[in-house]
C-alpha cells in the first residue's frame, strides 16, 4: 500500500514538474493557440511552435488553447494554472499592472530586437511608471465598417463612404428608406460605453481627462443629439436596441445593416461566420476623424515566472510576433493557402513604424488576396488613436446607460443623462 502510494506521488510530481530538469530545456507554457475548429490558424500556430523549437533547441514551448478570459483569469492565477506567457487585450494591462498580476520585464526589453520600432502608443499600453509589463502584438483602431452591397442597393456609391457623422446620418437614412438598418450601435455589456468613448474621441473629445469625467460638454451633447436624431427622427437605427457585438455582426453578415463602428478584425469574422465575400465590405476611417480609440492584443508574463522563463517567453514572442524577417514568409504561407491578405490584421498587423511599416505595406500590396482599395480609406485615416480611460470597464458600465437612455427612450433628457453619468464616473475615478 505504502509502495503504491509512493509510486503515485512520484508519477504525479514527475507529471507536474515537466521535463525541464531532465533535458536542460526551459519549459514555457503559452496560450493563444487557436482552437481545432480554426483549422488554418491552428496549423500555422503549431508549425510556428515546431519551427521555433527547432531553431531554439534550449526552449520547450507548451501551447495551450484559449485567450484572455477575465472570468477565469484570477482562478487560474490562484491555482497556479496560468500560462507563463499569457494573451491579453488592450483593455487588460492597466488593471493587471495595478494589481501586480504581470511580471516586470523592463530590464529585458533592451534585448528584444526591433522592440523600439513598435509604435510608441502601443508600447505605452503595457507600461506604467516607467516600467514595462508586456508587448503588443496586434493593433487596430476603430473605423467605420460598411456593407458595399447594401450601399449599392440603396443607390449609394460604395467607393464614397461617409467621412463625417452628418454624412453617416444622411447615408443611414437612404439605407433605411431601402428597407434595411442604416447604422447600428451597441448599448449593452459595457460595449455601449466602449463605443460612446469612440464617438467622443471622433469628435476630438474623450470621456476622461486628468482623472475626471470629461463628456458632459458640447462634444458629449453632440454625440447624443446625433444618435437621438438617427434613432428617433430618421428611424435609421432599427427598432431593436440593447445590442452587442454578436447581434450587430449577425445583422451585417445577414446583409441587413449598412454601417457600424468596428475594427478591421470584424471583416474576416463576418466573412468566415456568414460565408460572405470580402469584396462586399469596406472600411473607412472614423467619421469626423478628430481621434479614435485604439484596441489590440499582446502578451504578458506570469508574475510567478522566473528569470529563465521570462527570457524564453520574450524570445518566443519576438520570434513569433515582432519579427520583420518573418513578414514575407508569413504572407506567402497565407497566400498559398488562399487566406485573406490585405487587411490591417495578422499576419500583417499594423504595429510598426518607419521602414518596417513601409516594407510591410509594400509586401501586403504584393501578396494581396482581398481588394485592398476597399480598406484603403481606413489605412489613410489620419485620426490619432488613443487608449481607453482608466477603470475602463467600470466607466463603460456607466456609459452603457447613456447609450441605452438615448436609444431606448425617445423623450430621454440628454443633459440629465450626461450629468448623471458624469457624477457616477467621477465617483468611480476618485477611488
Amino acid at each position: 500500500m505504502k509502495k503504491s502510494a509512493g509510486l503515485l506521488v512520484c508519477l504525479l510530481t514527475a507529471a507536474c514538474s515537466g521535463s525541464a530538469q531532465d533535458t536542460g530545456k526551459v519549459v514555457i507554457s503559452i496560450n493563444g493557440q487557436p482552437p481545432q475548429t480554426q483549422a488554418f490558424e491552428r496549423k500555422i500556430f503549431d508549425e510556428d511552435v515546431a519551427e521555433f523549437e527547432r531553431t531554439h533547441p534550449d526552449i520547450d514551448v507548451q501551447p495551450h488553447e484559449g485567450f484572455m478570459d477575465p472570468k477565469t483569469f484570477s482562478a487560474k492565477l490562484a491555482g497556479g494554472q496560468l500560462e507563463d506567457v499569457f494573451y491579453v487585450y488592450f483593455t487588460d494591462p492597466a488593471q493587471l499592472i495595478a494589481r501586480k498580476q504581470a511580471a516586470d520585464i523592463t530590464e529585458y526589453t533592451k534585448d528584444i530586437p526591433h522592440y523600439q520600432e513598435v509604435r510608441q502608443e502601443l508600447r505605452d499600453v503595457f507600461s506604467a511608471n516607467g516600467k514595462v509589463y508586456g508587448v503588443p502584438t496586434a493593433n487596430y483602431s476603430m473605423g467605420l465598417l460598411y456593407s458595399r452591397k447594401v450601399f449599392q442597393e440603396a443607390g449609394l456609391d460604395p467607393d464614397q463612404p461617409p467621412r463625417t457623422w452628418d454624412e453617416v446620418r444622411e447615408k443611414a437614412k437612404r439605407i433605411k428608406e431601402n428597407g434595411k438598418v442604416g447604422f447600428a450601435e451597441y448599448s449593452k455589456s459595457n460595449q455601449g460605453g466602449w463605443h460612446f468613448t469612440t464617438w467622443m474621441k471622433s469628435t476630438g473629445g474623450d470621456v476622461t481627462k486628468d482623472g475626471k469625467a470629461d463628456f458632459n460638454n458640447a462634444n458629449g451633447r453632440k454625440v447624443l443629439d446625433t444618435l437621438h436624431r438617427m434613432r428617433w427622427e430618421d428611424n435609421s437605427m432599427g427598432d431593436k436596441q440593447l445590442l452587442e457585438l454578436a447581434d450587430v455582426q449577425t445583422m451585417m453578415g445577414a446583409g441587413q445593416l449598412g454601417m457600424y463602428l468596428a475594427a478591421p478584425d470584424n471583416v474576416p469574422t463576418i466573412v468566415n461566420q456568414f460565408k460572405g465575400n470580402y469584396a462586399d465590405y469596406g472600411l473607412a476611417g472614423i467619421p469626423d476623424g478628430k481621434g479614435t480609440l485604439i484596441g489590440g492584443e499582446g502578451y504578458m508574463i506570469n508574475p510567478k515566472a522566473d528569470q529563465k522563463k521570462i527570457k524564453a517567453g520574450l524570445t518566443w514572442l519576438q520570434w513569433k510576433y515582432l519579427n520583420p524577417d518573418r513578414i514575407e514568409p508569413n504572407l506567402k504561407r497565407y497566400q498559398e493557402q488562399g487566406q485573406p491578405i490585405g487587411l490591417p490584421v495578422p499576419p500583417a498587423a499594423d504595429i510598426w513604424t518607419g521602414d518596417v511599416r513601409a516594407k510591410q505595406e509594400e509586401l501586403k500590396a504584393k501578396y494581396a488576396t482581398v481588394p485592398t482599395q476597399n480598406f484603403q480609406k481606413y489605412m489613410d485615416s489620419t485620426a490619432k488613436g488613443s487608449i481607453e480611460p482608466p477603470n475602463a470597464q467600470q466607466v463603460y458600465a456607466i456609459l452603457d446607460s447613456v447609450m441605452q437612455g438615448v436609444l431606448t427612450n425617445k423623450d430621454a433628457d440628454r443633459d440629465q443623462l450626461l450629468e448623471d453619468a458624469e457624477a457616477k464616473v467621477n465617483a468611480v475615478l476618485v477611488k
Binding site: S74, Q404, T408
Partner: protein, 284 residues
C-alpha cells in the same frame, strides 16, 4: 461505541464534502470581504474599505432597489399565478395530466434557453408579441427596451419559468384538504370565492407561507434573466445585486468587493432563511 464509530464513519463523508464545498467557501468569502487579493502576493487586510467602496458605488443602491422591486413583483405574480393555476387544475375533470404537464414543462427548460426564447418573444421587430399585436392592429410594446417596464418583463419570464414547481406543490396541498369541508361550506351557502377564502387559503396557509419565504430567497438571487436579456439596462433599470456582484468578480476582477457584496446579500437572505426555519419548525 463500535456502533457509534460506524455512524460517524458514514457521517464523515458528508461532513468532508460539506466542509470542502460549502463551509470553507463561506468562511473564505467572509475573509475575502475584508481583503484585497491579487493571488500573487499575500492578501492585504483592508478593514471595511471594500464595503465603503460598495456603498459609494452609484450602482449599489440602484441594484438593491431593483432587486427588492423584482422580489416584490415576483412575489405577487409568482405567488398568485401558481396558486390560481393550482386551484383551476384542481377543479379540472378532464385532461388533468396533460394540463399539469403543460404547466410544469417550462421548469424543464434550461434557464438560458428560457431567457433566449423570451428575448425573441420580446424582440420589438420580428418578435412574437409585437407581431401578434401588429396583426391585431394594437399598439406595439417596448418590453425590454423601456426602463419603465423592463423589470416587469423579466419578472414575467421568471414566473413563467418557475411557476410549475410551485403549482404542483399548491396542487398537492389542495388535494390534502378534506372534501367534507367544501361540502359543509357549500351547504352553508358559500360561493366559489368564499370557499377559497374560508376553506382553501386557511387549509394551505402553511404551504403558502413556506413557498413565499422560499420565493423571496430564490428571487433575490435573480441573475440569469437580466444577465442574458438586458445586461442590466436600459439605464440600469434591471441591474440586480447578483449582476453587480458578477461584474465586480468577473469583469473588474475585484474579488474583495464582490465578496463584501455577497456577504451583504448572505446576511439579508439569512434573515429570510431563519424565518423559514422558524416557520417550518413551529409547524412540526
Amino acid at each position: 461505541m463500535r456502533r457509534h464509530l460506524t455512524a460517524y464513519g458514514f457521517l464523515s463523508g458528508a461532513l468532508v464534502v460539506f466542509a470542502l464545498f460549502s463551509w470553507y467557501p463561506i468562511v473564505r468569502g467572509v475573509t475575502l470581504s475584508f481583503q484585497q487579493v491579487n493571488f500573487v502576493t499575500a492578501a492585504d487586510w483592508v478593514g471595511w474599505s471594500n464595503f465603503e467602496r460598495l456603498v459609494n458605488d452609484p450602482q449599489f443602491a440602484i441594484a438593491w432597489r431593483n432587486t427588492i422591486a423584482f422580489t416584490a413583483i415576483a412575489l405577487v405574480l409568482g405567488f398568485g399565478v401558481p396558486f390560481v393555476t393550482a386551484v383551476v387544475l384542481n377543479e379540472l375533470r378532464h385532461a388533468k395530466t396533460y394540463f399539469r404537464l403543460v404547466v410544469y414543462l417550462p421548469v424543464m427548460l434550461p434557464p438560458v434557453v428560457t431567457a433566449l426564447l423570451w428575448k425573441w418573444f420580446y424582440d420589438p421587430g420580428p418578435g412574437l408579441f409585437n407581431t401578434v399585436l401588429r396583426g391585431l392592429g394594437l399598439p406595439e410594446g417596448t418590453w425590454l427596451d423601456s426602463g419603465r417596464i423592463a423589470l416587469v418583463s423579466l419578472v414575467v419570464v421568471a414566473t413563467w419559468a418557475n411557476m410549475g414547481s410551485a403549482t404542483l406543490i399548491y396542487l398537492a396541498a389542495l388535494q390534502t384538504i378534506p372534501g367534507e369541508l367544501y361540502e359543509a361550506a357549500e351547504l352553508d351557502g358559500a360561493g366559489v370565492l368564499q370557499r377559497i377564502r374560508h376553506v382553501t387559503i386557511p387549509q394551505t396557509k402553511f404551504v403558502l407561507l413556506m413557498l413565499a419565504l422560499l420565493q423571496v430567497v430564490a428571487t433575490m438571487q435573480v441573475f440569469t434573466e437580466p444577465f442574458i436579456m438586458t445586461g442590466g439596462g436600459p439605464e440600469d433599470s434591471t441591474i440586480t445585486v447578483l449582476l453587480l456582484l458578477y461584474r465586480y468578480a468577473f469583469v473588474y476582477n475585484d474579488f474583495g468587493t464582490a465578496s463584501a457584496l455577497s456577504l451583504m446579500l448572505f446576511t439579508v437572505l439569512g434573515v429570510f432563511s431563519a424565518l423559514y426555519l422558524r416557520v417550518t419548525s413551529r409547524e412540526h
